[in-house]
Amino acid sequence: MWKIIGRTLISKPLPIDAPTPGADEIAELAKRLDRDARRRLGRSLSIREVDAGSCNGCELEIHALNNPFHDLERFGLRFVASPRHADVLMVTGPVTHNMREALQRTYAATPDPKWVVAVGDCAFDGGLFADSYAVTGGVGAVVPVDLHIRGCPPTPVQLLQGLLALLERAA
């Protein structure tokens, strides 16, 4: 383990050294997010994620926000365990009828001011599942949505872009 830690200490941070074209975009976004997050929210925007019926594809990419490439926490954006600690509800899925009440109650448990970010094509309008007997057809059908981040699933970069857009609007 110490060998790996030692190597990590002397190597460049991953987001900057990332070997794909997406890396520049992330670094660019990182700068803007950092400035805005500090100015508007004092580095303390807390996110509660609610899966309201996704296929778990969106969750995988939301998870990826926490990896060292994207490292969401350096912007002061972090995932919290309870809606009572959250400023933002990040909701995925077409909102199944079986999850509707849980989503409503989670929303009610989130203190004001709060924002809702609907993540993924399903959360936008039900996506491929829109015609099903089992879904309400999008997050907007159940709680007010401040921002949609489209994609099936959206990439971590798209998610970062979306959070930036939210910061710009939420101030």
Binding site: I4, L60, G93, V135
Partner: protein
């Protein structure tokens, strides 16, 4: 009964206050008498209607100038029909059946009436199952319940866990699932296979390649389509990349739930590298919609082949290093060894596959048996461990990543040239496929109609056979070890809930 007045008959039942005319609750025998004897009386049947678990008949005795409502509780949702003796009851009973799901036994006309098959649900006014869901009772002293979910603390899928605990020790865990039921199978029916394939790819996002592959293979079996050789090998390549990415992610997450964040950090880096390579080579980080009936939707170019070769070569030594870290951490092993044990006998009885089965001594792997191409031409290890604990499930994943990295290199070396997709003939037929996803074997069945559309289908995610065993694994463990046990299973909610 013919000699009785309506009220004399009715008063055999229990009087319920109702104004201005009385209501009486009859027992089953009394209602049966009513159904048999009504025909011999000149009483008028004013109405028959239902509520979720009771049926009512309003009856008038014109001679005596009396009106009464007679009711029968029907908790089993059946009641003796009045229609054989009073035809006017026929349509009202049919309406009660459509609205409340109350079945009139012995009716002269059991067809639906108000329900034309267009409503989103059957018996829309009937009792809602959710309101009276009872968790299994537990008896004993000093027990307490811990309800968890459906919204959990982490970024994970929703489901409910009901723990009964005695102090710290879990006496029983009962799962309640279905929260992410999206009606996927219903959406797939009637669709052309290409459209249905997109839905199959979203049964469980983490197994999108494996589910799409199982669906494609079932469709090909049903229609007689022959995917080109290159497509068959590219599918296996994607399936192994999916297995690698998920196993790496799981190992990190399991260690993280044992409060060892170091592994999580490094595993997420490796996982991200796999996803980035997948995006570069196949145009999608999770490789969604890349496996289609008849073949694959995207080819791998020379640069992509080189990229994946480098990826496999660069991950292998770092993975070995991370294994050393895991294996050398007594504080971590203290949490994983001996925790959440599932006995071999149980995994056999449930036919649990994947790392859950293999960590408990059941070596089943659909790539080997029944087997499917190209695995019949590839050498690979299927690790099996006897202990059945969290540690064993971690070890199986470590070894499977090694095996899959080797498979990736073999596939890249031997990737045949040629077309990547064949047409799927529009033909009626039924097909079954068994495919090994990262989580275990996926069974998909499909029936196609004459136009080649999906008439019926079913996809059995491995989670169906693993979720019940999680309930067994946690028994006798402490509540604080549940996240660890749960993560070591990493069952799919969406794949299970359909």
């Amino acid at each position: 009964m013919t000699s009785q007045s309506l009220l004399e008959f009715a008063e055999q039942g229990i009087a319920i206050e109702q104004r201005p005319w009385p209501r009486y609750r009859l027992n089953h025998a009394q209602w049966t008498d009513l159904a048999a004897g009504l025909g011999a009386t000149d009483w008028t049947l004013l109405a028959v209607w239902g509520e979720p678990s009771e049926v009512h008949a309003a009856i008038m005795d014109e001679t005596a100038g009396a009106i009464a409502v007679l009711s029968l509780p029907c908790p089993d949702r059946r009641f003796p029909s009045l229609s054989p003796v009073r035809p006017s009851a026929i349509r009202m009973e049919r309406a009660a059946q459509d609205l409340f799901g109350l079945v009139a036994e012995g009716t002269v006309d059991p067809r639906p009436w108000l329900d034309h098959g267009q409503w989103p649900s059957r018996a829309p006014l009937g009792p809602r199952a959710a309101s009276d869901y009872n968790f299994l009772p537990v008896e004993g002293e000093s027990l307490h319940q811990i309800p968890v979910g459906p919204v959990h603390a982490g970024v994970i899928e929703p489901g409910h866990f009901r723990f009964h605990a005695n102090g710290e020790t879990v006496v029983r865990l009962e799962e309640r699932l279905g929260y992410v039921h999206k009606g996927t199978l219903h959406l797939m029916t009637g669709k052309p296979v290409a459209e249905a394939a997109r839905l199959s790819a979203r049964l469980s996002g983490d197994s999108t390649v494996a589910h799409a592959l199982a669906f494609a293979r079932a469709v090909e079996a049903a229609s007689g389509a022959e995917p080109p050789l290159r497509a068959v090998w590219l599918r296996a390549l994607m399936a192994e990349l999916e297995r690698i990415a998920n196993h790496i992610g799981d190992v990190g997450a399991i260690c993280n739930d044992a409060a060892f964040a170091f592994m999580q950090a490094h595993c997420t880096v490796l996982r991200e590298e796999v996803l980035r390579a997948a995006a570069l080579c196949f145009g999608h980080r999770l490789m969604m919609d890349r496996v289609i009936p008849g073949g694959v939707s995207i080819d791998l170019d020379g640069a992509g082949t080189a990229r994946l070769g480098e990826l496999a070569a660069s991950i292998a030594p770092r993975w070995a290093e991370l294994y050393e870290v895991y294996d050398d951490r007594p504080s971590l092993l203290d949490r994983t060894v001996g925790t959440g044990v599932v006995r071999t006998e149980l995994v056999r009885r449930y036919a649990a596959g994947g790392y859950v089965g293999r960590a408990s001594g059941r070596g089943f792997d659909a790539r080997r048996q029944p087997g499917y191409p190209p695995y019949d031409r590839l050498e690979f290890e299927v690790p099996v461990m006897p202990d059945g604990d969290v540690h064993a499930r971690v070890l199986v994943r470590f070894r499977e990543v090694e095996a899959s990295l080797a498979l990736v290199r073999m596939i890249l070396d031997r990737l045949p040239q040629g077309a990547i997709a064949a047409a799927v003939p529009a033909r009626a037929g039924e097909g079954l496929a068994l495919v090994e996803g990262f989580r275990g074997d996926i069974l998909t069945w499909v029936r196609l109609d004459r136009e080649g559309r999906v008439q019926q289908c079913f996809a059995r995610d491995p989670s169906w056979l693993q979720w019940p065993l999680l309930e067994a694994a946690i028994e006798g463990n402490i509540v604080a070890d549940f996240p660890l046990c749960n993560k070591s299973f990493n069952c799919s909610y969406s794949g299970h809930d359909l």
